[in-house]
Amino acid sequence: MKREKRHEPDLALHIEDLTVAYEGKPVLWDIDVNIPPGVMAAVIGPNGAGKSTLIKTVLGLVKPTAGHICIHGYPPRQALKRVAYVPQRSSVDWDFPTTVVDVVMMGRYGHLGWFRWPGRRERRRAMDALSAVGMEAFAKRQINQLSGGQQQRVFLARAMVQDADVLFLDEPMAGVDATTEKAVVALLQELRDQGKTIIVVHHDLQTVRDYFDWLVILNVRVVAQGPIPEVYTGENLRKAYGGRIALLDPDSSGETPDAVPREVVN
């Protein structure tokens, strides 16, 4: 086997000079991102900032124009078993003929050999993950009977059985109920406390400070990144969102404001 020198092995995610373009338009422009292991990081930015593209590129789903990516020091294709990905719920057809436990077992497919079928062990792992997300009663259900929040829990269970070190989640709180949002956040924080790195594309600026401890603000370029207290400032947010930001809390004098994009305020 070819041994490659690991590059920046102490970082969970290391991105250098990454540029991605769709149809000739740059979506990400020359970005550097470093995320240490064991944090729960949010990736925020306005629509079209390239948040989802960033994750898809890291996972090798989108080919970059330039730059390179390391996960725990390995290039993405060698780190496949170290990462888990939770796509946006809306990216799949929930009328697909399959059961809840079946979807969760898909998380083990990457660990099975090419022609091996999932067996009893995979099923047991899937059931354990389902009870961790409070969905064990739904194991045999058809997936089209699930609510939005339940769908998200199933996807999370699937990511959990992957035994990954780094979890990427694309808008996991979009369109789920408050109870599920709290449960998902608690679960993610628990995983972080076990030493895993959680990287979440997030859209709700108001909850960033409560849920996360690391922040990457993106708008085609990286506006700012680092621990929440240092990065979550009015200035940085204004830089990313431009005039579309409305600061709700005048007392905080722009240091750590409760910020909401103005589209939401209107």
Binding site: E23, K56, L59, G60, L61, R77, L80, V83, A84, Y85, P87, S91, V92, D93, F96, P97, T98, T99, D102, V103, M106, Y109, G110, L112, W114, F115, W117, P118, Q142, N144, R158, Q162, F168
Partner: protein
Amino acid sequence: MLELLGNHTVQTVTLGAVLLGMVSGLLGSFAVLRQQSLLGDTLAHAALPGVCIGFLIAGTRHLGWIMAGALVTAVIAALFVQVVTRYSRIKMDAGLGAALSVSFAVGVVLLTYIQGHASASQGGLDSFLFGQAAATRPSDLWFMGGVTLAAMALVALMWKQLKLVTFDPLFAGSIGLRVGVLETLLTAMIALAVVVGLQMVGVVLMTAMVIAPPVAARQWVSRLEHMVFLAMLMGVISGVVGVLLSAGVAHLATGPVVVLVASALVALSLLLAPGRGVLWSWLKLWREQRSIGQRQMLVTLHKLAEHHEDPYYPVERSMLDSFYGVATSHILRRLQARGFVVPASHMRQEGPHWALTDAGHNEARQELERMDWNQAEV
């Protein structure tokens, strides 16, 4: 009808229909679930120029060459759609339509070229347009059987990859599956199924063979393995019933009869399949609406009785009618049958009056509690 099965031609055609039903049900399931049903349509039309090219190469109606040619042009058309939709702003529908119509046009050009230039042995090429099941030869069956077996083996071996790529391609990519390769493989296999069916049911009707059996199957089952199996069965049923009907009844063209049988199976499944069938949901909706009407009525009567401090307060039906905006007598009669209301007489008898029974008051109280509980839940 049974003596028909003794007929050699009918035997061959029936066996061909069985194989066609199996392969199109199997591969069509994946096409329908990937929401690429109309890909089969495009592939079928795009096979026409390949049929002609195969004929031109072989110089005669040699099935092997013709099918190889058809497969090649069908796959080229599919790749064209993929490239055009990925690298330009043209959407899937226009990409499919453009590939379909242009390749068919090229096919027509080649067909007329053959008619004008090649030797007279071109007879039978037209059968690929509209299908001519009776032209199926025993040697064709070996070919069709081989394709069917290969497709089944491939799906069995790669089951979990194909399932994952069909359900969640993004996730499949994230665990390292070659999504593009698998999708192209699926497309090529659908092209293969289409090519196999061409001479039996023809270009246009092959579209239905790829779509109808899987859609019908999906209504009855909710697991992929069951759906694929049932789709193959539905394909076989449509094929065999269609062949026997067309041969036995009026010597009708086989392709259209097969497709109409498949369409009838879809209609039946959409209406009747337990749980998913449209009739079942209507029934459920109707029952729910009826029960809501009854529950509302109980609560209304209960509250009126409370307001008037008379548990047996008689309410005039015409008042209820105008309150609900619809005739309420059928609701009241059903509640009466359940023992919750009784007709009541009033001092001034202007019209029918109704009052709650004790059982009715109990039921209404329970209903109110349920509503409170539901509200607390929210």
